[in-house]
């Protein structure tokens, strides 16, 4: 492994647990927020607990800031309490019998500071995260957003070299999530070490992370910048998360033959071989009759199989060659009398189609 830098995190390891195997190789540089995106059961939490030292790796090694934390070959293992790691748990796990201030002072105290020094370290962090007013409360008296901030303050107060966040916003209601997210982004920017942020919410990963890896069934299936992941998803799971139609196919210059049937004319002439084709649901036009010859190059018939109301639009599910998700306005649904079972024509301009190479061995 290279590229972690002297302050970075490098994981090149396998964790086997029952029938499940997590096998990942990743690096996170100091100051970088690495988002780990994946469905439930993909191994995200296993990854965090291996890095924290709660689960020893079965094979391979984990290094942090140039120090070996865990190495299955040499048998080196640094116990959880000795790792310079701050962990913000999904359910926060604030100690219910301690006040907010005592919770935040816990780590400085446990790491060897005297009572007084720990208390003043805690009060600095409370101040920094605007929690001073809540110092004497018990965790039971906090709102979700406040508890999240206390959990972050508690993790940071131990002055960790690495920050681990497990679904940091998932316990919050939708109303407070955006505020807390913006706040969290600010605090993460202040943190000097590498940060691993696990989430199954693509927005969270896209907003908070500098770099994203997608984990599925214990393996990394895609890595890239948030923008790359959002524009060119590598798997059906990611495509669904970011709301794109995704088709694997074979490119041949100006055309892509789709693996599931159908073909697209594309604007990018340089593509050959295994590719993925991504199409935004709002880029697909829908009409009742075969459209008159137009500048759009891709037209095919399809049958409506479902309609779902989204916030301000209606998402149609269509069966055809290829099948597609299409977003239209409620007015269009009424005007075109779109209903399940209806036959329609779909049209996509070649310039609206994103075509990119498919890594070998990757599913569509």
């Amino acid at each position: 492994m290279t590229g972690a830098g002297s302050d970075g995190l490098a994981v090149d390891a396998e964790v086997r647990r029952g029938g499940f195997t997590l096998a990942v190789s990743l690096t996170a540089a100091a100051g970088q927020v690495l988002g780990v995106l994946g469905p439930n059961g993909a191994g995200k939490s296993t990854l965090l607990s291996a890095v924290a030292g709660l689960t020893p790796v079965t094979a391979g090694r984990i290094t942090l800031a140039g120090q070996v934390m865990d190495d299955a070959d040499t048998g080196t293992f640094v116990e959880v309490s000795q790792r310079p790691v701050g962990f913000v748990f999904q359910d926060y796990r604030l100690f219910p019998h301690l006040t907010v201030a005592e919770n935040v002072a816990f780590s400085p105290r446990a790491r060897g500071l005297g009572r007084q020094a720990a208390r003043s370290a805690a009060s600095r962090w409370l101040d920094r995260l605007e929690l001073t007013g809540l110092a004497d409360r018990k965790p039971g008296q906090l709102s979700g957003g406040q508890a999240q901030r206390v959990a972050l303050a508690r993790a940071l107060a131990g002055q960790p070299a690495l920050l681990l966040l497990d679904e940091p916003l998932s316990a919050l209601d939708a109303g407070t999530r955006l505020d807390v997210q913006a706040e969290l982004k600010r605090h993460l920017a202040d943190f000097g070490g590498p940060c691993l942020l696990v989430t199954h919410d693509p927005i969270e990963a896209l907003v908070l992370a500098d770099q994203v890896i997608v984990l599925e069934a214990g393996r990394i299936v895609q890595e890239g910048s948030p923008a790359q992941i959002a524009r060119q998803p590598a798997t059906a799971y990611v495509a669904k998360l970011v709301g794109l139609n995704l088709y694997p196919g074979q490119a041949d210059g100006s055309q892509v033959k789709l693996a599931g049937g159908g073909a697209f004319v594309i604007a990018d002439q340089g593509q050959h071989g295994d590719v993925l084709v991504a199409v935004r649901p709002s880029a697909v036009l829908i009409s009742n009759q075969h459209p008159q010859p137009s500048s759009a190059r891709n037209t095919w018939p399809a049958k409506i199989t479902g309609l779902t109301m989204l916030a301000d639009r209606v998402r149609l599910e269509l069966e055809g060659q290829p099948p597609a998700l299409v977003d239209v306005t409620p007015a269009a649904v009424a005007e075109l009398s779109l209903s399940p079972g209806g036959q329609v024509w779909l049209t996509v301009k070649a310039t609206e189609i994103e075509v990119y190479p498919r890594a070998s061995g990757q599913p569509g």
Partner: protein, 286 residues
């Protein structure tokens, strides 16, 4: 096909209650009611008899006429010491049983809880065999330290600890098993070593169960009879605890026995009240 329905009466009170809480009728079917009432009568009548037969007029005299005060004081302090010892050595054992894994852990658990089902007299005999002047351990205590345990207050404490400590252990072990270990994990990631985790997180989190287990242990120690009389005997002021005093008083001075029993009943009620959150509500309480 129309099924004929058989209407029954629903009083306004029942109607309101069932509307508010929902659910099935609350009345008890006769085949369950009769045995339930018998059970209640069986449990309550003897206690009622105790209250009825109590020499209320000269309760003070009945108590002071015997060795009651001595016995009560002995019982109270030995039970308290027993509870202290059980906390000091029983809680760590509960932790070992709940949190560590080693070969023979299940066997150890069975051994530890054996005194719960063992007749206390057998426990007393076993203690005698171990700690008497010729016993397995006792002979060394005697020859090395000149320490003779049987028939001393120390023997009372050992007998009570043998019988009562398992109550504390299983209560605390249960609490440790059901406690959310996520907090302990969190403490470890915050840099706390295992002893710090135990002291600052585990113990405070199970404090209610710890208190309940201690009260239970204390109450059991207070009521201990069989092992005590076997291993420690019944010397007034030395090893004659309340239950033993009650037993002897009943043969010579029934009024004193009843008065002593009332005192123990009162103590039991206090214990029950202090544990009401755990038991009276029937379900598990955090």
């Amino acid at each position: 096909m129309v099924t004929r329905t058989a209407p029954s009466r629903l009083t306004a009170r029942d109607r309101a209650r069932r509307t508010a809480r929902g659910g099935a009728p609350r009345s008890v079917p006769a085949p369950l009611l009769a045995p339930a009432l018998i059970a209640v009568a069986f449990l309550v009548l003897p206690l009622a008899g105790l209250l009825v037969r109590a020499p209320w007029g000269h309760l003070g005299a009945a108590l002071s006429g015997s060795d009651a005060t001595q016995a009560l004081i002995l019982s109270l302090w030995t039970s308290t010491v027993t509870t202290g010892i059980s906390l000091v050595i029983g809680v760590p054992l509960a932790w070992v049983l709940a949190r560590s894994s080693f070969p023979g852990r299940r066997l150890l658990r069975a051994l530890v809880t054996l005194p719960l089902v063992l007749p206390p007299v057998v426990g007393g005999v076993a203690l005698l065999l171990a700690f008497s002047r010729v016993g397995l351990v006792g002979r060394y205590l005697d020859s090395w330290f000149g320490l003779t345990i049987p028939f001393t207050p120390l023997a009372v404490i050992l007998a009570q600890t043998f019988v009562a400590m398992p109550f504390l252990i299983i209560t605390v072990e249960g609490a440790l098993l059901s406690a959310d270990q996520g907090f302990e994990e969190a403490a470890a990631t915050l840099g706390a070593r295992r002893m710090t985790v135990f002291r600052r997180v585990t113990v405070p989190l199970i404090a209610p169960s710890l208190a309940a287990g201690a009260v239970l242990c204390w109450a059991r120690a207070l009521g201990e009879f069989g092992a005590t009389i076997t291993f420690a005997g019944s010397f007034p002021g030395q090893t004659e605890t309340m239950p033993i005093a009650v037993y002897y008083a009943l043969q010579t001075d029934p009024d004193a026995a009843i008065a002593l029993s009332l005192v123990l009943l009162l103590v039991s009620v206090v214990v029950l009240v202090s544990l009401r959150d755990r038991w009276l509500r029937g379900g598990a309480v955090s």
